[in-house]
Symmetry: C2
Subunit: 190 residues, 2 copies
C-alpha cells in the first residue's frame, strides 16, 4: 500500500438487522420503506445523517447493497447514502456498471449524487423526500440543474418521485427538531 491513508467504506452492523438476507422487496413502497428505515435508524444509532438508500434488482426484488450517510464518522464528504450504495453494489456485481439495477433513496439526490448516477449506469431512480424538503430543514443540496429530472430521463434513466414522501419528510423533520448537525464544509457561506 502507498504511504497515504486508506478509507474503508463499510456499513454499520445494524444494517443487517433491518435488511436480513431473506428479505425481498417487491414493490417500490417496500424498497422505499427500507431506505427510510435506514435513514431514521442511522440517526438513532449515531452512525451518520438522516439519509438512506438501496440498490435493488427490480426483476427479483433483491437488495443488492444498502447505503447510509457516513460523512461525519467516515471523515469523507463523498460518503452520502447514494454514493455508498452505488460503490458497494459495484463490489457485489463486480463492476462500476450497475445497468439493470434501480436506486431507491429516501431523498432526491444532491448535486454530487445526481452527477454520480449516470456514471453508475442505473436504470431507475426512486425518491422519497423532495429537494425542497431537505433544504427546508437546512440542508444544502448544491447547485443542481433545475431540469435535473428531464436530464436524467434524456439519458434513459427513469425517475420516480414522491414515493412515501410524507414518511421520508418526517425523518428529516425529526432530525432537525432533535438538533441534528446540518454539516456542510461551506455552511454559512452563501
Amino acid at each position: 500500500m502507498s504511504r497515504f491513508p486508506e478509507l474503508l467504506i463499510t456499513l454499520p452492523i445494524w444494517v443487517d438487522q433491518v435488511s436480513p438476507p431473506s428479505a425481498s422487496y417487491n414493490t417500490l413502497e417496500d424498497r422505499m420503506d427500507l431506505a427510510i428505515t435506514l435513514a431514521s435508524r442511522n440517526v438513532i444509532e449515531l452512525t451518520g445523517g438522516p439519509f438512506g438508500a438501496g440498490i435493488f434488482d427490480p426483476s427479483t426484488g433483491v437488495l443488492v447493497a444498502a447505503g447510509v450517510n457516513m460523512v461525519i464518522p467516515g471523515r469523507a464528504a463523498i460518503l452520502h447514502a447514494e454514493t455508498v450504495a452505488m460503490a458497494l453494489a459495484g463490489q457485489v456485481v463486480g463492476s462500476f456498471d450497475l445497468t439493470g439495477l434501480e436506486m431507491v433513496s429516501s431523498n432526491e439526490p444532491c448535486a454530487m449524487c445526481l452527477g454520480a448516477i449516470p456514471w453508475a449506469g442505473i436504470d431507475r431512480l426512486v425518491c422519497g423526500a423532495r429537494h425542497e424538503d431537505a433544504t427546508g430543514v437546512g440542508f444544502d443540496e448544491g447547485d443542481k440543474p433545475l431540469d435535473w429530472v428531464a436530464l436524467l430521463r434524456r439519458r434513459g434513466i427513469e425517475v420516480v418521485q414522491d414515493v412515501l414522501r410524507a414518511e421520508a419528510v418526517s425523518v428529516l423533520a425529526s432530525y432537525a427538531a432533535g438538533g441534528g448537525v446540518i454539516y456542510n464544509g461551506r455552511r454559512g457561506k452563501p
Copy 2:
C-alpha cells in the same frame, strides 16, 4: 461488519514514487505537474483512467493526499481522482471538512466531482484541461451548470483554470490515441 461487501479505497503503490514524502510543491505549476504525472502514470500502470488530483496545503506546499481515477479496477463509479483525493485527505486531517486546503486536478471536474467540492469545503480549485478537452476525446462530463465557475465562486471557492493546460490535454490525447477505454455506464445513450 455487516453482510454487505466493503470497499477499501487505497492508492496504487507507485503513487509513492511520484510523490515522495520529502517533496514540496510551492507553486501552482508544481502542484499541477504532479496531478498530470499522476494522470499519465495511472494509464501506464494500468491502474485506471487518465485523471489525477491532489489536495495541498497552500500555506506549506505539502501534498495532503493524492487521487487517481480508479473506476474500473475499484469497481465503483464514484472513484474519480478528485473524489478519491478528497476522501483520503479527510482521513489525514480527521474530518470531511477540508477548509483551508486546495484541490489541484488535471481536469476540470465532472458533474459529480463538481457537486462534491462544496461538501468538502476546500478553499480553491485549480484545473488543467478544460471540460471541452475531456469531451473532445469522448468523455462524458455530465450535466454541469453552464456557470459552474461562478457558482463555486459564489460559495467562496476560488477557481483557477488552464494551469499547464497543454500538458494536461496531451495526457488525454495520448490516452484516446492509445485506444484507452472511455468507460461510462450510460455511454452511447444521448
